[in-house]
């Protein structure tokens, strides 16, 4: 795994994906990694452990909640859930990211300055 893909794709991208997935349902860390890989059709190579610093940042900012629970495989796991503040943050970030992607895409597609 190279250093380029190490932590984050760009600042905030991982957090946004986590929030988006948690908006659908509550889940624990391992499940989140699985879902990111599935949903991105393995296009995004995320270092699995980098999820945890991101989760801690979200916890600190009050964008997600966590509680200990027992998983389907009967393991003690910490399950995360999005908070109302997290949901609001997500929708704001998504629209700003979308605009940015559009801008980048236009330039990349066209190529003329």
């Amino acid at each position: 795994m190279s250093d380029v893909s190490a932590r984050d794709l760009f600042p905030g991208a991982l957090e946004m994906m986590i929030l988006r997935l948690l908006k659908q349902e509550r889940m624990h860390g391992y499940a989140l990694v699985q879902r990111i890989q599935q949903a991105s059709r393995n296009l995004l190579q995320v270092e699995e452990g980098s999820l945890y610093p991101a989760l801690q940042r979200l916890l600190k900012q009050g964008l997600v909640d966590a509680e200990w629970d027992v998983s389907s495989t009967n393991r003690r796991v910490r399950v995360y859930r999005i908070t109302p503040a997290g949901a609001k943050h997500l929708s704001r970030e998504v629209s700003s990211f979308t605009r940015m992607f559009q801008g980048i895409h236009l330039i990349l597609a066209d190529g003329t300055p």
Binding site: M1, A6, R7, P11, H28, G29, Y30, V33, E47, E48, G49, S50, Y52, P53, L55, Q56, R57, L59, K60, S71, T73, R75, R76, V77, R78
Partner: protein, 882 residues
């Protein structure tokens, strides 16, 4: 970094480890389910996960305090930034040092005199002073019998001790030294909770049972000076007032007795007062002889209000049951710093006023520092904008700016502390040395350090927060476009800086008005005529009880010495008195019954008096209005004579003839033989008060000592030497003390107010200077910012006068706002200090006018330099620069 991990809860760490382990296990289980071997699966899971330790560190980072490295980095960066602006840094650090040194110095004085009056006593905050009140509500000491009743019956206190400060002669007939001592109740040390450094203190029950043998406890300083710290002092015998006493204990070095600011060297139980003062058994037997200071320790759980209620109730009850001499008396309970007996009474007001002035100056210093930092923050907009654009969170910038503020505050405080250690020793400016024989050098110790540290924190927050918040407001785009052209600095910053300058000027006006009022008040006080002429008069005191004199010997001695002094060359007249006017204490009083005058119910007939020798009025040049002076034959064989002052005649005799009228005091009838002009007896600022004089030969009260006064045609110290010679030839073993000119003596009570007024003027000067710096900073900054505008104006035909008007109008608006706010606050604060002023209204127009005028002059000077610069703007330069 292991110590850092201890700073935050273990929970976070444990949870993270568990969670990460669970992840690895689950992943490995999945891989095993897909057919991998357990060992391979575990390894693969780890590979996919990444570096567990590093991720763990990263994951707990959001919960961490700023790491030490980043704080050190901030400080180093701050130092670099401050070095780049040396002028700004110097001004801030120096002004901070002045403000902090002044405040910390006054604090160290306040602590030594008001806040920590009983060094060496345990839990001194629970000790209060019980004072008796005369029927007119004036405080007085408490009699021994009253004290014993208070101690026996009051329920609010854990203990109660009486003390009576007195000077004692230590040593034998050939050589004796004077030391301050206290006559105390036997539980004195128990109530103050002082443990002996050596030996023991007084046994309980000594007060009632009487003393089997005379015992004394000595202080640490005396132990070292007289016994060289030798522990064999216990059990040794020392003569006090020529009576042998056995030393039974040594007080610890920190304990200096119960009088704030004074050093007491020895303690004698009150049961032995007969040995100390042979003529003074009435001290313990007469309920009307109110001489003791009573210290009371509150019981745990009892508050001041409840205790005060009990004291005043019980005192009123005693006043009813104890008959004539106590009628109308009541009691009061005060914290030591508010109590009346001692140096703290005279210094309380000057110290509080100084404390207020220092707070004002420190506020101005903070406003000035905030102002300068704001200017600096505005100049650094590009830096902040860039850092924000590069992803620095806003709080990171705030932290950086606060760090810069606190670096400045720490530097200023450190410098200030050095000055404090030096200034604190100047307490003697406020306190005449003979009033407090050994006023402790106020120590610059841990509590002063803590106070200074608290000041530094307050300064950082007060002066640092506005620039920090402002600096971190930058937006990427604005800063780089606007700021790139040396822009206007933003409306927000300009407004904030203007507000700060207005506040600085307002505070400076307040401190100017304050200094002016107190200065004026002092001049008025000095201008009051005391009613006697102090020039060319010298005084010296003797204490005859120290030499064991009875009244016949004392009388003989006083007469002989006064006679001998008169025969000295240059001396025109000499006499003696037991109270010198304008002393720091108020002297003693007597309950009078005046023929032909019926007092109102509850009226206070306790009048202050002096017992004097013949020729006293001539020596002091107090004019005799009617009748005659005391004569030598006003002695115990003749009718007691009394001389009263004019206010006495006006108040009690309706201005009629006083001569020949009878007045009863000390249980006998006196005849008024003379009337003299009023004299200021206690304070120059007192209104005319009834006062009377008796002949020392007829009323002998030796425990206060007597003071010889002598008038010469030459310099006063010539008379002082004459007194010393005369005493020596009469009895070489009587120690003479307190030799000085009367002029110096009566100036002493004014020293506190005088030093305070001078300090106030100095502080006001500092305040004015700081306000000028602030105004100069804002105006010259705005001139620099608007140089292009000025250039355009000049290019379009504006004359220098027009440019001046632009600059001046800004300065005038700021100055006007500062003046209005300052004068209004000064007027509002005036009521608070009005009780401390003498013959000056708190709204004294000349003072207000002078303060405003001073501010205007300084403001003109501060505006002048930038205004000149504006007038000289070269349009080509200004425009090309852009």
């Amino acid at each position: 970094m292991t110590w850092l991990s201890r700073l935050f809860p273990r929970r976070v760490d444990d949870d993270l480890s568990d969670e990460m382990q669970a992840h690895l296990d689950e992943k490995a289980d999945d891989l095993v389910a897909r057919g991998m071997s357990r060992a391979d699966a575990t390894a693969a899971a780890r590979r996919a996960f990444g570096n567990v330790t590093r991720l763990h560190e990263q994951a707990r980072e959001p919960w961490q305090w700023p790491t030490l490295e980043s704080v050190v980095m901030d400080i180093r960066f701050a130092l670099r930034q401050l070095r780049r602006a040396p002028a700004l840094t110097t001004v801030i650090v120096l002004t901070l040092a002045i403000g902090i040194a002044a405040t910390a110095t006054v604090f160290s004085w306040t602590r030594a005199i008001l806040l920590d009056p009983l060094p060496g006593a345990a839990d001194p905050a629970r000790i209060e002073v019980l004072e008796s009140l005369t029927p007119s509500g004036k405080w007085t000491g408490t009699s021994w019998l009253d004290f014993r009743d208070f101690r026996r019956y009051l329920k609010s206190f854990d203990g109660m001790a009486a003390s009576y400060p007195i000077s004692l002669a230590v040593g034998d007939e050939t050589h004796s030294e004077l030391h301050w001592g206290e006559i105390v109740s036997s539980d004195f040390f128990d109530v103050l909770r002082v443990r002996p450094a050596l030996g023991r203190f007084f046994p309980v029950g000594l007060d009632t049972a009487g003393a089997a043998e005379p015992v004394v406890v000595i202080g640490d300083a005396l132990w070292h000076s007289r016994w060289h710290g030798d522990s064999s002092v216990i059990g040794s015998v020392v003569k006090i007032n020529r009576y042998p006493f056995t030393v039974i204990g040594v007080a610890p070095p920190s304990f200096h007795g119960s009088m704030p600011g004074e050093r007491i060297d020895m303690w004698v139980p009150a049961a032995l007062v007969g040995q100390i003062l042979p003529t003074s058994n009435h001290l313990r037997e007469d309920r009307g002889w109110r001489t003791f200071r009573v210290l009371a320790r509150l019981k745990p759980g009892v508050d001041h209000a409840a205790a005060l209620k009990e004291v005043s109730w019980f005192a009123s009850y005693m006043a009813k049951v104890n008959g004539e001499r106590s009628t109308g008396m009541s009691g009061d309970l005060l914290p030591i710093w508010k109590s009346h007996w001692g140096i703290q009474d005279a210094l309380r007001a000057p110290l509080l006023v100084l404390m207020g002035a220092c707070a004002l100056v420190l506020l101005i210093v903070c406003a000035n520092m905030a102002n300068l930092l704001l200017a600096r923050a505005t100049a650094r907009r590009r830096e902040f904008g860039l850092r924000l654009a590069l992803g620095a969170p806003r709080r990171r910038l705030i932290r950086q700016l606060l760090t810069e503020g606190s670096v400045l505050a720490v530097a200023g405080s450190a410098l200030g502390l050095v000055c404090t250690a030096w200034f604190a020793q100047s307490l003697h400016l406020l306190v005449p040395s003979f009033a407090a024989p050994a006023l402790l050098d106020p120590p610059v110790d841990s509590s002063v350090l803590a106070f200074t540290a608290a000041l530094a924190c307050a300064v950082t927050l007060l002066a640092g927060i506005a620039p920090a918040l402002h600096g971190s407001r930058e937006r990427f785009g604005e800063a780089l476009s606007d700021g790139g052209r040396g822009g206007t600095g933003g409306v927000h910053a300009t407004r904030l800086r203007s507000a700060l300058v207005v506040a600085e000027m307002a505070l400076a006006v307040v401190s100017l008005v304050g200094a002016g009022l107190f200065w004026n008040s002092l001049q008025h006080t000095r201008a009051v005529s005391p009613g006697f002429t102090a020039d060319h008069v010298a005084m010296s005191s003797v204490s005859l009880t120290l030499s064991g004199y009875d009244s016949a010997r004392a009388d003989d001695f006083l007469r002989r010495v006064a006679d001998d002094i008169t025969r000295e060359p240059g001396v025109t007249s000499a006499s003696y008195t037991d109270y010198v006017p304008l002393s720091i204490g108020q002297g003693s009083w007597e309950d009078l019954q005046i023929e032909g005058y019926t007092p109102q119910p509850g009226e206070n007939m306790k009048l202050f008096r002096s017992a004097i020798g013949p020729d006293y009025f001539a020596t002091m040049q107090i004019p005799l209005v009617a009748g005659r002076d005391f004569r030598l034959d006003d002695d115990s064989a003749h009718t007691p004579a009394m001389i009263v002052n004019e206010t006495f005649v006006r108040q009690y005799l309706h201005g009629g003839s006083a001569l020949g009228l009878k007045v009863k005091g000390w249980g006998k009838w006196f005849t008024i033989v003379g009337v003299v002009k009023d004299v200021k007896t206690y304070r120059l600022t007192d209104p005319p008060t009834p006062y009377f004089y008796v002949a020392a030969r007829q009323v002998y009260r030796p425990e206060y000592g007597y003071t010889f006064v002598a008038r010469t045609s030459g310099p006063a110290d010539q008379a002082a030497q004459a007194i010393a010679r005369a005493v020596k030839s009469a009895d070489p073993t009587v120690p003479v003390f307190g030799a000085m000119s009367l002029t110096d003596y009566i100036a002493a009570p004014l020293r506190g107010p005088q030093a305070a007024a001078q300090l106030l003027v100095a502080l006001a000067g500092v305040a004015l200077f700081l306000a000028a710096i602030g105004l100069y900073g804002v105006i010259s900054y705005s001139v620099a910012q608007r140089s292009r505008e000025m250039g355009v104006r000049v290019a379009l035909g504006a004359r220098p006068a027009d440019l001046l008007r632009v600059v001046a109008s800004q300065a005038i608006v700021l100055l006007g706002a500062g003046l209005v706010a300052g004068l209004a606050s000064a007027a509002a604060l005036g009521r608070v200090v009005s009780s401390l002023l003498f013959a000056v209204s708190p709204f004294d127009f000349p003072v207000f006018f002078a303060a405003a005028f001073g501010m205007v002059v300084i403001a003109l000077a501060a505006t002048g330099i930038p205004a000149r610069r504006a007038m000289k703007v070269d349009p080509i330069e200004a425009l090309r620069y852009e």
